[in-house]
Symmetry: C2
């Protein structure tokens, strides 16, 4: 169940990017679970992948194939092809080979992605068998079906679409994500696919994506567990009327900003669909000496089970937030300079309970569905924020249910 009201947007087509889905029966048999994405020739493609040392076979292969002018993404839900050893590589390679053969490109031009149960063999024959059907469904106007085909146990499809003006030319950015709805345990989690018709070289596109992901997907957390399959792809077909976007131009700055917006929005949707989530919590850390220490403190708060259960209970339990700040491992933190706010209510002043604070004022904020916690360190000028959700009975229920 989503935190807040979430509408699936009208997905603008991106010229040069086609999507085709079909039902291969990887796990569920009732809905599409395979997605083939085609990029027009001369497209650029960038991607970032999980930093988990145990990354899945498709992640390793996609990372290897990325520099070789990708033309196709092959995505399946229902099975992560992770923890599957040599067999997993063989299966992922076979799916790339079959796609390449069908579409008359090189095997290295296909990037594979899998999401679903860990540790079970990928039913690669089923996927290969379904490819002609996915091919025949290829269409630029197929984002809605695509965003549903990549879902595992997400409770809603997650989309973003925006037309931006750059130097008087329309540039479209459309994307989708699937996330932290690990209702059946062992799901390997986050995938994001974003497309634009901008014309931009692969290296610059990669720089743009890396910056955007660092400030969006890398600033969300449900439970601190990084999955084996996390990946985010940015495709640029170059078919907009805008001339090539070059480094250090105003056009690049606007484009970078637009991609960051897309990533932030898609990341926020994942948190709104967090396992058992009842609240969306934004944690801002201000007046830090470095961005790194701001992130470190924000994540320590965001990962604290004591803080998260207090949010679930709508308990303005400032002692837990304060204790999390204190154990974040920031050197020479002067606790007597720290102020903490719930929305605009000051709860901690100079390291102690704020004089004017009342439980009633804190309670009123905590009863909301969306809450901003602001920690003001009084050390410097930098700030960062992290998005998270609360920790509920349903989180335990969802993750304690036996794998089915």
């Amino acid at each position: 169940m989503a935190v807040g009201k979430v509408d699936f947007p009208k997905m603008q087509v991106v010229s040069g990017i086609k999507l085709g889905t079909c039902c291969a029966g990887v796990k569920q048999t009732e809905r599409d679970d395979v997605l083939l994405v085609e990029m027009a020739a001369e497209s650029s493609c960038a991607a970032v992948f999980t930093q988990n040392a145990f990354c899945a076979a498709p992640v390793i292969i996609a990372r290897e194939h990325l520099p070789q002018s990708p033309r196709y993404l092959l995505i399946n839900s229902g099975n992560a092809n992770a923890g599957t050893g040599e067999q997993g590589f063989t299966d992922a390679q076979a799916s790339c080979l079959a796609t390449a053969k069908l579409m008359s490109v090189q095997t290295e031009q296909v990037l594979p992605f899998s999401t679903g149960v860990i540790g079970e063999k990928l039913p690669v024959e089923k996927i290969i068998h379904s490819l002609p059907q996915a091919k025949s469904a290829l269409s630029e106007d197929n984002w809605s079906n695509a965003s549903q085909a990549i879902m595992t146990t997400d409770t809603f499809a997650k989309g973003y679409s925006m037309v931006t003006q750059i130097d008087g030319h329309a540039v479209t950015i459309t994307g989708m994500s699937k996330g932290a709805g690990m209702i059946q345990p062992n799901m390997a989690t986050m995938l994001g696919f974003i497309a634009t018709d901008a014309n931009i070289a692969p290296a610059l596109l990669q720089q743009c994506l890396s910056v955007a992901v660092e400030q969006s997907f890398n600033r969300i957390t449900v439970d601190g567990d990084t999955s084996t399959n996390d990946a985010c792809v940015l495709m640029a077909s170059g078919q907009s009327s805008l001339p090539e976007i070059l480094i250090d131009t105003d056009a690049f700055a606007i484009f970078q900003h637009a991609i960051l917006d897309a990533c932030k929005q898609l990341a926020e949707l994942i948190i709104r669909d967090g396992e058992g989530a009842t609240k969306l919590i934004k944690i801002k850390v201000q007046q830090a000496e470095s961005e790194a220490e701001a992130v470190q403190i924000a994540k320590t708060i965001a990962h604290s089970p004591l803080v998260k259960t207090a949010f679930f209970a709508s308990d303005p339990n400032w002692g837990r937030i304060l204790a999390a700040v204190g154990r974040a491992g920031v050197e020479q933190l002067d606790v007597n300079k720290i102020n903490i706010y719930l929305d605009d209510v000051c709860i901690v002043e100079k390291g102690g309970r704020a004089v004017a604070y009342t439980e009633e004022a804190g309670q009123a904020i905590m009863n909301q569905e969306e809450i901003t916690v602001t920690v003001v360190l009084g050390r410097g000028q930098l700030e960062q924020q992290v998005l998270t959700c609360d920790f509920s009975y349903d989180y335990v229920r969802i993750n304690a249910e036996y794998r089915t």
Copy 2:
């Protein structure tokens, strides 16, 4: 409710260490909540304190007083005197001053300890008023009452007592702890007090305690939240017939080992009483390049909500353990060398599901109340272990209940 059967041991008196309890009505009025501990003149005293930057007023004062030949510990439960600003210092100082006056010592010879609710003013007048009663109760044979007086919401009193032979002389070690039973949120958590009649200089005693705590209290975790008041004290009265224990002697090695045993046992009792715990989980990491990386991996597993909920559900979910190992941040981890065991059942072999593994075999281990997870890295010769418990509905319930 304890995991496993826990008996309170016969607490051997430690010659030269007296304990007196009374009911000051700090929070509860029905049971003793103040404990005064007297060390004979010429005793040595060592202590370690929380590393949380937000440490409570009594922690800061106890740390300052420690080098000044302590004679008394003054401990109260029911209020942590944390997050209380200047007033907190004034109150903790006042309690030391009153104790010193009553017992005719210097204020600096009193170490204050508080555990309980964060952010509420310490009712120091009540504590001071109760001191004469605690004084008149001072007795060497009072460990059982003492271990109950320091409880907050622990579900059982935690004690340890052992008589060790060193060089043909009997040395007694008796101690108690209180822990992670934060049934009323905001409790500031772990306290340990251990006494021995050994004769040992303060600096060597401190070295002994620091080593022991690192391998015991610092190797347990319920939820990764370090409290503002954690402290562990080791007192040595010097009244055993054993001559002074000197550095680099066999006697010191035996003594160090005995203190480590005491700390490990008292730490394990805290985990057995972990909030909502239904299982005791020992995580061993072997064949590491360094002890630090072994601890890092063990703690990442121990803190993973996904791993902990799987244990609660008795689900042999090896994918989650593997994913936690992978995200622990150890450089150049070769996942293809890693084996993982549940007790003696191999579940992961060379980074993938073990060939001979069956769900039935894994399930049989997971149904137990006490489980050992062994992660074999194949990188080096070092190993470390961490104790933790599972994550249950009750953990959420306990921590989501509004502070009362």
